[in-house]
């Protein structure tokens, strides 16, 4: 029953974007000839570009994105587990151009000049903007964990941006000995996708159950608690027995040093662990262009005005998705998409010289434990006293039937299909 509600909420959430934007319409006179540049064609950016064009068909919307194919992090854990092909994670921009008339520029933004309201691309092209939306996702902090730099990541993949890193991790898992140890290093908050590492653990265990029956999965975590913890721990035990072991901060789980050559990690209290495959998820920060544009603070993330996601530091620049400080909203694809709708409406209102509409955001994160076993968490967010607050929410019940878990797994697949269809048309 509850999942049906969740599903209704979910679909309502995808549609809510449209309802909100109506408040920003219609754009009159010069505003309709304005140009909005969007940097980053991921969940936040591509959704924002689409929403802008849907609500204001005369608006010029330019989307800057270097890749021809966008690979989703959502479901990349399923690829690791063998439940999905790598190809199924890829989405193209043709639909956004043809169907929605978004101008897609295949390049990277190198710099933002807020004075002149220009974005400079790596090839030197300058794009003027009336409003700019940045949704560049994350960058790894290569200086945050001793021994873990870009070279080390070629041996100890992070696979926290979907692409070659994800395939590398999959190959390493496949090449692992039958009784191998798969070790994951997990950072403290905030980071992209709070439940992601724990879903990955389940998917790796899923793969091992069939192909590496004696392998173990060890999670070394810099935190003492994590998202949906009770549900994950129960699911891991029910489905995979003792295969997955989690060690939190107080159990000496914080890794302070890695040795990529020897595949050894060292914890805060001096324990050393050697493993056959090591997946290091390092501390993160907003994508480069956000830092270059001056919208980030010393935390490495971009503080934004809660109602619109306009930068608190640079006017007329909006930051959405993982790069923004949207707490208590987690850094999820669902949130990035929800923020895209609200911010598109706010940008249109600003161009038309109107007050932004009252915002509301939504999140649901599904995590797969097994092919027919998923758990979820949802939250609804509104503006209260000038800050984003969680007004309602819930997680899957701890006591639930197999049928219930199976239906949630189905909803997870529905969500992925609905979301990627809404954004990339496939």
């Amino acid at each position: 029953m509850k999942t049906d509600q969740a599903r209704r909420r979910l679909l309502a959430g995808l549609g809510a974007t449209l309802g909100l934007a109506a408040a920003g319409l219609p754009l009159g006179g010069s505003a309709s000839r304005a140009r909005v540049v969007v940097v980053g064609g991921g969940f936040g950016g591509a959704a924002a570009a689409r929403a802008l064009r849907q609500f204001a068909p005369d608006l010029e919307v330019v989307l800057v994105e270097p890749s021809a194919v966008f690979r989703t992090c959502p479901f990349s854990n399923l690829y690791l587990g063998g439940l999905r092909s790598f190809g199924s994670l890829g989405h193209h921009y043709g639909y956004l151009q043809r169907r929605h008339g978004v101008r897609v520029v295949r390049s990277s933004a190198r710099a933002v000049d807020p004075e002149r309201r220009q974005v400079r691309l790596v090839d030197g092209t300058r794009l003027g903007y009336d409003r700019l939306i940045l949704s560049p996702g994350i960058d790894m902090r290569w200086d945050a964990l001793e021994g873990y730099d870009q070279t080390a990541a070629e041996r100890l993949p992070h696979a926290w941006k979907a692409g070659p890193q994800t395939r590398l991790l999959r190959r390493q898992l496949q090449a692992m000995d039958d009784d191998g140890l798969f070790l994951m290093v997990i950072p403290d908050n905030p980071y992209r996708c709070p439940p992601g590492p724990y879903e990955r653990a389940a998917m790796v265990a899923h793969y091992c159950r069939r192909h590496k029956p004696r392998a173990k999965v060890l999670l070394l975590d810099a935190k003492d608690a994590f998202s949906k913890q009770a549900l994950f721990e129960q699911g891991w035990r029910e489905v995979y027995g003792e295969r997955i072991e989690w060690v939190g901060f107080s159990g000496d789980g914080e890794v302070v040093r890695v040795d990529a050559n020897q595949r050894i990690v060292e914890t805060a209290f001096g324990n050393r662990h050697q493993a056959d495959v090591i997946n290091v998820i390092p501390p993160q920060q907003a994508g480069y262009i956000a830092r270059q544009a001056g919208v980030t603070d010393r935390s490495g993330w971009a503080p934004v005005k809660a109602g619109t996601f306009e930068s608190r530091l640079v006017p007329d620049v909006y930051v959405i998705g993982d790069a923004a400080v949207a707490a208590p909203m987690p850094k999820s694809a669902f949130c990035a998409h929800s923020q895209a709708g609200v911010t598109a409406a706010a940008v249109l209102a600003s161009l038309a010289g109107r007050e932004p509409p009252e915002p509301a955001w939504l999140n649901t994160c599904f995590s797969l434990i097994d092919s027919d076993y998923a758990i979820s968490i949802s939250g609804q967010y509104r503006l209260r006293d000038g800050e984003i607050q969680e007004v309602s929410g819930g997680v899957s019940p701890l006591q639930a039937s197999q049928e219930f878990r199976r239906r949630e797994a189905e909803h997870a697949r529905d969500w992925y299909a609905a979301m990627s269809h809404a954004i990339w048309g496939a």
Partner: protein, 266 residues
């Protein structure tokens, strides 16, 4: 005309600025009786003591706090005592530290509980009796996504963990000592599943002795996170032995010993 309007706006902003400064909130130490009592009428200086906290915390149960109080050895007036307060907690006391110059530096890391968005204040008193202050507001945006289960932990005090540099970098050069002990640090402010308050039980005292001399003693309050973590510096002049000792409110105690070896300083 746009230009004039802009000018006017600038002018207004300028005129309003001093007023804004005057009405700015009082420094944190003025807002807290406990802090004013300790200061005894003194006004703390604002340099010489730095703190690091996240600007936004998604999980108020465990917020990393770093205190940087500078050198102790070569300073004329080294810091002797530090107190940490969380102005918006039901009990604003967080942590008290008494330092011996043998630590080498007044640098600490710990994890604290913040009930809600609030200002954290750290006060220090140096050997000349002068006070220093540092404060920072932290926005606590507890995310349902990260909420912990409310199960009371009835685990007793667990085994301590200690990491010391081996060897220390050189005679009189500070190295970081990390300590952690498993303990629920029940605040007494929280309800169990039966709706009754869970009885308070916290570790109160912690100390570090180098060859029998106390170099650090700490007073923990309920706002020190469960499984108290405290990292400090130690600058031993010669090889020796470090004893660490924890005692909780029920009188239960734990101790740990570590050999201290001093490197050649190369």
């Amino acid at each position: 005309m746009g230009w004039t309007l802009h000018r006017l706006a600038m002018l207004l902003a300028f005129l309003l600025l001093p007023a804004a400064v005057v009405t700015a909130e009082k420094p944190a130490w003025q807002q807290l009786d406990a802090a004013r009592d300790w200061l005894g009428g003194e006004e703390p200086a604002s340099g010489g003591l730095r703190i690091e906290l996240p600007l936004v915390s998604e999980e108020g149960m465990s917020v990393p706090l770093e205190i940087r109080g500078g050198e102790l050895g070569n300073s004329e007036a080294p810091i002797r005592e530090i107190r940490v307060y969380a102005l918006g907690n039901p009990d604003p006391d967080v942590l008290g530290l008494r330092l011996d110059p043998a630590l080498g530096r007044a640098d600490f890391s710990t994890r604290i509980r913040l009930d809600e968005s609030q200002t954290v204040l750290v006060l220090a008193r140096d050997a000349s009796g002068r006070f220093l202050a540092a404060e920072q507001p932290v926005r606590v945006a507890n995310s349902g996504c990260l909420a912990r289960s409310d199960e009371p932990v009835d685990a007793p005090m667990g085994a301590p963990r200690v990491a010391v540099p081996d060897p220390f970098p050189g005679a009189g050069e500070p190295g970081e000592v990390r300590t952690l002990i498993l303990h629920p640090m029940e605040t007494g402010f929280r309800e169990g599943p039966d709706g009754k308050p869970v009885a308070r039980r916290i570790i109160e005292d912690f100390s570090a002795e180098l060859d029998g001399e106390t170099v650090l003693s700490a007073r923990f309050h309920a706002a020190v996170s469960a499984n108290p973590y405290l990292a400090f510096r130690l600058a031993p002049r010669a090889d020796g032995e470090l004893r660490l000792h924890w005692r909780d409110e029920t009188g239960e105690e734990r101790e740990a010993y570590r050999e201290v070896r001093v490197g050649s300083g190369e």
